[in-house]
Amino acid sequence: MPTKVIMPQLGESVVEGTVTKWLKKEGESIAEFEPLLEVNTDKVDTEIPSPAGGTVLKLLVSEGKTVTAGTILAWLGKPGEEVPTGESTPETHIHATTPTATQEMSSTRAPTTAQPATRDLGFISPVVAKIAHEHNVDLQLVSGSGQGGRITKKDVLAFVESNPAGTSEADIPIWETPADGDLFRPTEMMFQKTTDRTGAQSTGEAPAISAMPSTGDKLIPHTSIRRSIAEHMIKSKNISAHVTTVMEVDLSKVVTHRNANKDSFSRDGVNLTYTAYFISAIVSALKAYPQVNSSWSDEGLVLHSAINIGMATSLADAGLIVPVIKAADGLSLLGLARAVNDLAQRARDRKLSPDEVKGGTFTLTNHGISGSLFATPIINQPQCGILGVGLVQKRAVVINDAIAIRPMVYISLTFDHRILDGASADWFLAKVVDALQNWAG
């Protein structure tokens, strides 16, 4: 009996391989484990050893061709032996090292299994697919009365009627079924098969399907701001190499300064918030490390002359907006605090002009407001970084070998690893820490 040579799965999540070179021609003899062909995948290049000794009967895949793992590449056997035809590749399985044992196993196992042999279901109409999905029906178990044995809507409805609880076949584990149990098949295909057979929605591969509302679910249409946020977030994740680094700041001096000055600020009509301090610290760090105040472009790194700080402002359920404090480096703490008050208020009142949410070169987000200690914010494109401020908490810290109670906060910098490396990002963040920790007013 001839032996198959199949395209192995050369690594996790490698689903296909390219035949780069056949080392034997048809009709040549080959020993077991002797190299038969060279295969290239996106992860590895390797030689495939012959699974058996004998003669190369037929090479099915020509050089340069890319095929999915599990595809039959060649047949080996005795000279002049007939090559089987019409065998469907996904059902083949062979172990490269113990070919004869595998063959015996598959031939003895097939008749004992509870699973009926899979048949070609032919065309499955959209409505039949939908009903089968909704009722967890294994269409292999439904007999077809349509043209050429096609399963019609009536057939599947009649089946659902007579099998209200679904099928017991769904409980058979994947490794118990001969057609699906091939360990050489790509994991993607195995999981795909699981979904098909049980109707489970567990792969997460097709959100459009898994998100399909079922009875009792409610569909809330997206607002345009929600859509826009979603689009920006995904786009940013696709554009930048996001890395987040976190440092801790002792805010004692900032708190002291704020307590000493907030009354005089308030006489000027300004609510002195911590946000103003953070922006001020960011501005001084950006001045020290101008490559953080930048944007990546294909031509080169664009260093921005202006320092425009965006401040992410929550609109509660309605979403998020990022008004921008233009030329923040020209403002005193009073000026920053006033700008923060003004922009935040008008953001909540939805009274910002389009210009006021554009042109940012760096962004601050205060996730501590909702109790978060540290986070990994997403970069506001086309900026280089975003700084997240956590919840200010009194914590026990060790200072000069004594335990002290200090107002502490974690600050998280998400930066574009295309522009900055870990060390340069940390220098910038350390500068922010330094400015806050040693606040001089």
């Binding site: 109409s125 959209p126 409505v127 039949v128 697919a129 939908k130 349509g146 043209q147 096609r150 019609t152 809507k153």
Partner: protein, 327 residues
């Protein structure tokens, strides 16, 4: 309820509207003394006089143009095009003037006009007396297109058309003028424009048709019922604006759709119905959406054997339905 032929019901509808509203008048070739080439206006000239039932020159652009002008002055013209095949000279008046008036004047001016046009083949009329022309006009927002398939609907839809503030093109299946008979309610009633009717309830296949083809489809469905095939028939009645909800509700029930129309297959009106179903009921389909229509040749031939080859009939429709039911 009295039984009437299709043409008697149409005449009764015009008679009632002429009596109800002094602004209503009829204009067309030979509609006066002669009572129209199909006798649709027979007796109305004697009853309402030459000012209300007006003969026109052999000039369709002028018939429709006069109608538009009169309508802008507040009258309610019913223009008769002797055969739909002759409507082409009036195409510009209908498309560029009547259909756009309301939109272009921002609603200040409308054209409350009805254009009646007998259409369709199977009457030995040859190339210039057999055409189905709805597809040219169902592409035009601003123009309503109505095709009745039975006397009750014909009268009720015609009365709605006369009262509609915007132009309505009213295609009448001329082969059915005296062939199609049916009960017509006594007294005042109208049938709304824009609503299809499920004329036969079924579960196996949905067939969408209008006019003469609807009449044939009902016969085919009757025949197939004896074979155990349960056909649902939807009479579209108004082609533009079309009643999508009724179409989709039927397809969602049966999972199979056949659209039947007499016009040439390619670019015919049924293509739009097929597209609506494919777009909006895809996951409810159990078979491809199919069209049964006339062949793509320039016209209905004059030769009788060739005319029979061109025209659909209940047998051809039954074969197509049977095929789809067995899919």
């Amino acid at each position: 309820m009295p039984e009437m032929t299709l043409i008697d019901a149409i005449r009764a509808g015009m008679d009632e509207e002429l009596a109800l509203d002094p602004n209503v008048f009829i204009v067309g070739e030979d509609v006066g003394m002669r009572g129209g080439v199909f006798r649709a206006t027979m007796g109305l000239f004697d009853k309402y006089g030459p000012q209300r039932v007006m003969d026109s020159p052999l000039a369709e652009a002028s018939i429709v143009g006069v109608g538009i002008g009169a309508a802008l002055y507040g009258l309610r013209p019913i223009c008769e095009i002797q055969f739909a095949d002759f409507i082409h000279p009036a195409f510009n008046q209908i498309i560029n003037e009547a259909a756009k008036m309301c939109y272009r004047s921002n609603g200040d001016w409308t054209v409350p006009m009805v254009i009646r046009a007998p259409y369709g083949g199977g009457i030995g009329g040859g190339l210039y007396h057999s055409q189905s022309l709805e597809a040219f006009f169902t592409h035009t927002p601003g123009l309503k297109v109505v095709v009745p398939s039975n006397p009750r609907d014909a009268k009720g839809l015609l009365k709605s058309a006369v009262r509609d503030p915007n132009p309505v093109l009213f295609f009448e299946p001329k082969k059915g003028y005296r062939l199609i008979k049916g009960e017509v309610p006594e007294g005042e009633y109208t049938v709304p424009i824009g609503k299809a009717a499920m004329s036969r309830e079924g579960s196996d296949v949905s067939v969408f048709a209008y006019g003469m083809m609807h009449y044939y489809t009902l016969q085919a469905a009757e025949k197939l019922a004896n074979e155990g095939i349960n056909v649902e028939v939807v009479d579209l009645r108004t082609l533009y604006p079309v009643d999508r909800e009724s179409i989709l509700a039927s397809v969602r029930k049966t999972g199979k759709a056949l659209v039947v129309y007499e016009d040439n297959l390619t670019g015919g009106y049924g293509a739009e119905i097929a597209a609506i179903i494919a777009e909006q009921a895809f996951t409810d389909l159990d078979a491809p959406v199919r069209r049964l229509a006339g062949p793509d040749i320039p016209a209905v031939p004059f030769s009788h054997p060739l005319q029979d080859w061109f025209m659909l009939n209940p047998e051809k429709i039954a074969t197509a339905i049977r095929d789809l039911a067995n899919y």
